[in-house]
């Protein structure tokens, strides 16, 4: 048996984005010893990329806002397959979580009377997003990081977890490796919080970085927890499409919040053409009203560009498919037009959207104050993830908690922009709180050393096959497959083909090989991440096949409408005893009457 360095913590948090950091801070505040594992350096997690803002009904800009409206907006956006309790807790607690950031040093943009400014965003009835220009995620992660480093948390940077350790049903730690030397490490813990983010690297066009390989999803699944809502993947409507090297990089919804419009190659503002019935009463019916909304006129309704992301993405795909796209296969997003409406428009744009200005100027030679941008949908976020108890965030495995993107429930079939950062804070805090409580009530579990040796041996097997296939090639082929066959528009034949290919990729992954040694070897890491990517890709495809309807982010060409029988169920993915992946449908928890009334009143 090999000798592995062992760390002991009461609570181990895996992932150091918004949810992981918030969770670690909370657990630490509860007086337990906390370890925080990050795949990259501290402060580089994907939260840093979030641009638009944190949704919270602070009512600083529009006093009509409150948690009930936010709750109703979230449920409507999620097409009512959300876990109501999570949506309720989220809407009620988000304002406190934002104010707390300010107490920890965050510097949000201000209203004229000196309070936190809020901006409009898709699907939110009132201006609700606390923000810092278009770099809100950076502000959030830096605030949590700078606060967190003084809380006595042990940070393990550039470590990756390969498997969760179990004692019976209970999760009692994790096993992984550090990047620099490639050595394996044991993390013993009384409770483990997964906060690993998303799965974007399963797709070719994505706003996600190399880290987002569904690690938490796969770790939870392999350990025996359930995944829900895996079919719902958010394709953000506006990613860059040109030049090819930047394809997929996010263009914030804040551009549309500030008045940006979507137009096709004929110069037509196409979003007015297909406003869904359930949003018609709250959507502008002319361009002037839409502009007045963005300027903060309370009697105006939102422009159709600010409809939910699933809908806007499909409208963009329709324009492109029907030959009305832009030269490089997108559509135009134009903010420069506002110069017709206001003096100093260029300065205004640069102040409100500084990193977008910078990003286009530097990467695409486009001056967004003068020219339209070319944009198209990009894989951005997965609504699905580990199934957790809404109040405690614990999975069905004792001692295993999950928060943020790798957990599921709050968003239903589609997430509203801005609800992610608030989700990270609200449920990160809850996960940390209840993980600490669990740790306080339990002792360290027993660890099976033989099992660790097996995991270590499997992880090193790629070094023995010097003539095997390049893992980068397999990853690329998988990304192409998911993009083409399980993307924005889906059907049964294509998804069955995808399943066959995924099975084939699994065989190929078992024959992958890397060169060099264990020290900081990205080829090795890519080979190891492949396993997780394949697991989540299969889960996404199987769940999408099971939901034979179109709802929210899932659009099935063979079932283009919403179906009543799928309106109150979640898909549940779990690992069966024989190791195969099982999918079933399960009824949603019934929304209690007081919340039904909230939904009706805020329709």
């Amino acid at each position: 048996m090999a000798d592995y360095e062992t760390f002991e913590h009461d609570v181990l948090v895996i992932g150091a984005g918004g949810a992981g950091l918030r969770s670690a801070i909370e657990a630490s505040a509860a007086g337990v010893r906390v370890g925080l594992v990050c795949k990259s350096l501290l402060g580089k997690a994907h939260t840093v990329m979030a641009e638009g803002g944190i949704a919270a009904a602070l009512a600083n800009v529009d006093e009509r806002d409150n948690w009930k409206v936010h709750f109703a907006d979230t449920m409507r956006g999620g097409q009512y397959v959300n876990q109501w309790r999570m949506a309720e807790l989220h809407a009620k607690e988000a304002p406190d979580r934002v104010r707390e950031l300010e107490a920890w040093g965050a510097v949000f943009d201000r209203t004229k009377d000196g309070r936190i400014l809020q901006r409009h965003f898709g699907g939110h009835k009132y201006p609700r997003l606390a923000h810092v220009g278009d770099r809100t995620g950076l502000e959030m992660i830096r605030t949590l990081q700078d606060h967190g480093i003084h809380q006595g948390i042990d940070v393990h940077m550039e470590h990756t977890i390969l498997s969760l350790l179990k004692d019976g049903d209970r999760v009692v730690g994790a096993f992984g490796y550090e990047r620099e030397r490639g050595r394996f490490k044991i993390f013993r813990a009384k409770a483990v919080v997964l906060a690993t983010g998303g799965i974007g690297r399963a797709y070719k066009i994505t706003s996600n970085s190399w880290e987002y390989t569904g690690d938490g999803h796969a770790l939870a699944y392999e350990a025996g927890a359930e995944l829900i809502d895996m079919e719902f993947i958010q394709f953000h409507p506006t990613g860059m499409v040109w030049p090819p090297s930047v394809m997929g990089i996010l263009v914030t919804e804040g551009v549309r919040g500030e008045g940006g419009i979507l137009v096709n190659k004929d110069g037509k503002r196409f979003m007015f053409d297909a406003i869904p019935e359930n949003y018609r009463p709250q959507t502008a019916d002319n361009e002037e009203e839409g502009w007045r909304y963005c300027q903060g006129h309370k009697d105006a309704r939102r422009p159709p560009e600010l409809l939910t992301r699933d809908h806007v993405s499909r409208c963009i795909v329709r324009e492109i498919k029907e030959g009305r796209g832009s030269p490089h296969g997108g559509v135009f997003l134009d903010i420069s037009w506002i110069k017709q409406k206001m003096p100093n428009a260029a300065e205004h744009i640069k102040r409100k959207l500084p990193s977008m200005y910078h990003q286009f100027k530097q990467l695409a030679d486009i001056d967004i104050t003068e020219q339209p941008m070319e944009v198209g949908p990009t894989t951005h976020y997965i609504m699905g993830g580990a199934r957790v108890d809404p109040d405690t965030q614990m999975s069905r495995l004792p001692g295993l908690f999950a928060a943020g993107e790798c957990a599921a429930g709050i968003n239903g079939a589609n997430r509203l922009g801005g609800n992610s950062l608030s989700d990270l804070l609200v449920f990160g805090k809850r996960a940390g709180e209840f993980a600490a409580k669990f740790a306080g009530e339990n002792q360290h579990g027993r660890i099976d050393r033989d099992e660790l040796d097996t995991v270590a041996r499997d992880a090193l097997a790629v070094f023995d096959r010097s003539d095997g296939e390049n893992p980068y090639t397999i990853q690329k082929d998988l990304q192409d497959t998911m993009q083409d066959l399980v993307g924005i528009v889906r059907d049964e034949t294509e998804m069955c083909e995808a399943l066959e290919k995924i099975s084939d990729f699994k065989t190929r992954a078992e024959r992958a090989a890397v060169t060099g040694n264990r020290e900081y070897n990205p080829g090795w890491h890519t080979a190891l991440d492949l396993e997780n990517l394949l697991t989540v890709s299969e889960a996404i495809t199987r769940a999408a096949l099971e939901r034979k309807e179109s709802r929210g982010a899932q659009f099935r060409e063979d079932y283009p409408d919403k179906e009543e029988r799928f309106s109150k169920v979640n898909t549940i993915v779990s690992k069966s005893a024989d190791g195969s992946m099982r999918v079933r449908l399960e009824p949603l928890p019934e929304v209690p009457d007081y919340l039904k009334r909230v939904i009706e009143e805020n329709g």
Partner: protein, 257 residues
């Protein structure tokens, strides 16, 4: 298809050398694209850090043709491709492997800086009031993505290796952001002069030149901090005033006890 040659430094703490890689290039490519392409096709174990690929996370810092740069924001079209493009790790930090350096010193330094300490809230609901014009400067400093390129180019760290005596431009800006935060009540001036070594900065402004976020590190951050240090320690009237104030404060304490 057009190709270009990249001279990439390969090695570890024990030593290394440049190796040539020729790869295809396409319109719009940045240096990081080329490095990743080489990694995926020719050198699977080539170590480099990256995350966002959009200039927002500050992971892919390196020296391109001798200039400290974010690889993800350096367009190949800006570089003379008729000769090889050199890509090497930052020089102010020890090499881990290839383009990856050990930047852990930065994290240790930050931990030693006194954290944010807000005044009591302005409103009964626990919130504060701040005017936008009062936070513009702090927001400029808080744009920092911690790429550490300013640390890399600073001669105090790069050439003189004074990591134990000087915190470098990144953390001077961090201190400036805290000191100029309208809500903050902490005082960090004494350690700025002593342990953090602000006096070592002789305002050559190299840090400002390489900052990918265009933060005016020297003019807006370091110089005002230097002025505060001067006011605190070298102004005789200020010194006398504080001495008297300390005297009277201690008298009050004595009375209370």
């Amino acid at each position: 298809m057009k190709t270009a040659t990249f001279k990439i430094w390969r090695g570890d703490a024990k030593g290394g050398e440049f190796q040539d890689y020729t790869t295809e290039i396409a319109e719009g490519m940045v240096v990081l694209d080329a490095v990743m392409q080489i990694q995926a096709t020719q050198a699977r174990d080539l170590a480099c850090r990256w995350n966002c690929k959009a200039g927002k996370c500050g992971s892919c810092s390196a020296e391109v043709n001798g200039m400290p740069k974010l690889m993800c924001m350096t367009r190949l079209s800006e570089l003379p491709l008729e000769k090889p493009v050199t890509v090497e790790p930052m020089k102010a930090f020890p090499v881990t492997k290839d383009l990856v350096t050990d930047v852990s010193w930065n994290f240790r330094v930050k931990k030693k800086i006194k954290p944010f300490k807000p005044r009591t809230p302005d409103a009964p609901d626990g919130t504060w009031r701040m005017q936008q014009e009062d936070i513009d400067r702090v927001q400029e400093f808080r744009k920092c993505i911690e790429c550490f390129l300013c640390q890399d180019v600073c001669h105090v760290l790069r050439d003189h290796q004074m990591h134990e005596k000087f915190i470098g431009p990144r953390f001077l800006i961090h201190v400036a952001a805290l000191e100029m935060h309208p809500l903050d009540t902490e005082n960090r001036i004494e350690e700025l002069r002593n342990t953090q070594g602000i006096g070592y900065c002789n305002i050559t402004k190299c840090c400002t030149k390489v900052c990918p976020e265009n933060i005016q590190i020297t003019d807006n951050g370091i110089i005002p901090l230097k002025e505060r240090v001067v006011d605190e320690f070298y102004d005789p009237f200020g010194w006398l005033w504080r001495w008297l104030k300390r005297k009277s404060d201690s008298r009050i304490e004595i009375r209370e006890s």
